[in-house]
Symmetry: C2
Subunit: 341 residues, 2 copies
């Protein structure tokens, strides 16, 4: 019961052929005859043979593994997109080697080094902003990679994502159009997060275009969590000049912000309008339902898988895939109260 795991050569012996034939058969190469294939498969099954990936990777220079580096898994949006990525990779026989950098771009370098060391065939990164050293390392190791959740401004790297700035402008313009003039924004931490920064920039630009400003005390930068969103709203509500519209950097924060209003019996959207970003499941189900920007996370994960696999396979592939985002107007926004503009 304690014999070592079967190797390819054991399968070959049992099938009465040479190792190369087994290798070819198991790789389903068309040069192997049908009868041979059956014999080899029977032998492999009988021995419970599981290929030794490391040996295969060493020789074939291919691991059928793709790496992904996220800021964190502890966030529904990334978890969901990662799930889609994982499924799409799985469908193509690839596995996902996962790492998190915890919103620290220097840490990302170390993490990517570990990933390269483990022998990934390709890498999926989040956001367009990364340390130069990271790009150098990836280039030196000729590891194909893909930026996601944003569009690469430099045009140097393949990417699949959407325009965070334009999306944020859409939100701001909608609120402006229904009459809001007093804005606040609850943003995630901007350092090392180009998506967050672009969203703030989009809001600022939209306001400027109408001759308005986002006062600095109305821009709160805080972690991307429910609790932080709730606290930020508390700060805004207790400040002297209360805004009529609060744009949140993502849905998690927006749900926190809305719950703070509800707990204080402040009517949303009657007294204050709140918007989110991403359109997670809860956004449409909680009451009031959240006005937000729908980001196609599933499509993003799926497109990322297709694109990185195309690069790995040396197949032609779009360098830039821009996904459409939509403003979803639901129950947390309304025109400001008469006399409040």
């Amino acid at each position: 019961m304690s014999k070592p795991a079967a190797k390819l050569i054991d399968v070959a012996r049992l099938a009465g052929v040479c190792n190369a034939t087994v290798s070819r058969a198991l790789a389903r190469e068309p040069t192997v005859s049908a009868e041979m294939l059956k014999r080899v498969e029977a032998a492999a099954r009988e021995l419970g043979y599981v290929p030794h990936g490391a040996a295969s990777a060493l020789r074939a220079r291919r691991s059928r593994t793709v790496g992904a580096v996220l800021p964190t898994l502890d966030n529904m949006l990334y978890a969901k997109a990662t799930h889609a990525l994982q499924k799409a990779l799985d469908d193509s026989g690839y596995m996902l080697l996962l790492a998190c950098h915890d919103f620290d771009l220097k840490n990302e370098i170390k993490v990517v080094r570990s990933l390269i060391e483990r022998g990934i065939d390709g890498l999926v990164l989040i956001g367009a902003e990364h340390d130069d050293e990271l790009h150098q390392m990836l280039d030196a190791n000729k590891t194909p990679y893909l930026l996601t959740w944003a569009l690469d401004g430099t045009g140097l790297h393949p990417c699949v994502g959407f325009d965070n700035r334009t999306a944020a402008m859409r939100v701001a313009n909608y609120l402006l159009d229904i009459g809001h003039r007093d804005f606040a924004m609850i943003s995630g931490v901007i350092a090392g997060n180009d998506r967050a920064r672009k969203r703030v920039a989009g809001v600022r630009d939209a306001l400027h275009a109408r001759g308005l400003e986002l006062p600095s005390h109305h821009l709160i930068e805080t972690p991307f969590t429910l609790a932080a969103g709730r606290e930020a709203m508390q700060t805004l509500l207790t400040s002297t000049s209360r805004p009529s519209a609060v744009i949140c950097g993502n849905d998690v924060m927006a749900v926190g912000a809305v719950s703070e209003c509800l707990a204080r019996s402040i009517d949303v959207p009657g007294e204050i309008s709140v918007t989110g970003f991403d359109d997670m499941e809860a956004a449409s189900i909680l009451s009031p339902a959240l006005t937000t920007v729908r980001v196609p996370m599933r499509e993003l994960g799926y497109a990322a898988a297709q694109q990185i696999l195309a690069h790995i396979g040396g197949k032609p592939a779009a360098r830039v895939t821009e996904l459409a985002v939509d403003l979803i107007v639901r129950g947390t926004t309304a025109p400001p109260r008469a006399g409040r503009r």
Copy 2:
């Protein structure tokens, strides 16, 4: 600019030593002199050397990679526990190879095969119920593994988790103690999910102990999603005999269930009490805050990492780690209305 990535032998040549010395130095073996170590590290840095994991794994029979199989990443609880697992592994120089079986235990076998093939040193599984073939495969390949989120009833396998049945009994007993007699349960899909099944069993047992039953039309089995929780509550509310207390299989469903009540202006907990399970962040922040069972997901992930690493290292380790769970009474539960018992 297109030279191949540096190998160990290149580092050796640059440092003027042999490959074995570099290998030892980089592995920080104590037999290497300090001066030698410095020289080797300088050479490695200069060349931007990244070890070739596949070669190392092939020779050393160790990949410094741990696999994990989840039902899905598309669920805050698993995502959070996985995050903790990933961080703890990272601290010990291990990476996480991730896969999902999508609540299909037959699929789990395939997925684990891929994981073994990729060369994992150990495996973390969710739940205590798995296909026999899975165990056989793992044993044949001598891959250490660990069951999590539940306790292994057979005592055959190492596990770190908690007693789902007892936890569910606690919830039911609390509701019984404050006077409820008309119960309903919104459970996740039970097939292939021992955690869900044990939670239902716990509720049933607690009711039986007081001479009560869970009527079959008051047990709704549905996916573990917000939307499903909401729909299930809708079904319960429109049925002829409305329960006074609804026990949900997890917090996500409970939040959905509560939001359905709120949308119908049914007071929670005044008209109906609702409980969750897991204590995710939103449970304490939304209004009304959810009465639930706190499951220590961080500790679970962390303990899982420690325990699987101990097994891998052949170190002594607890075979069974039982974590404590707590009933957290918050705003969604109250005694039933007078005359309703």
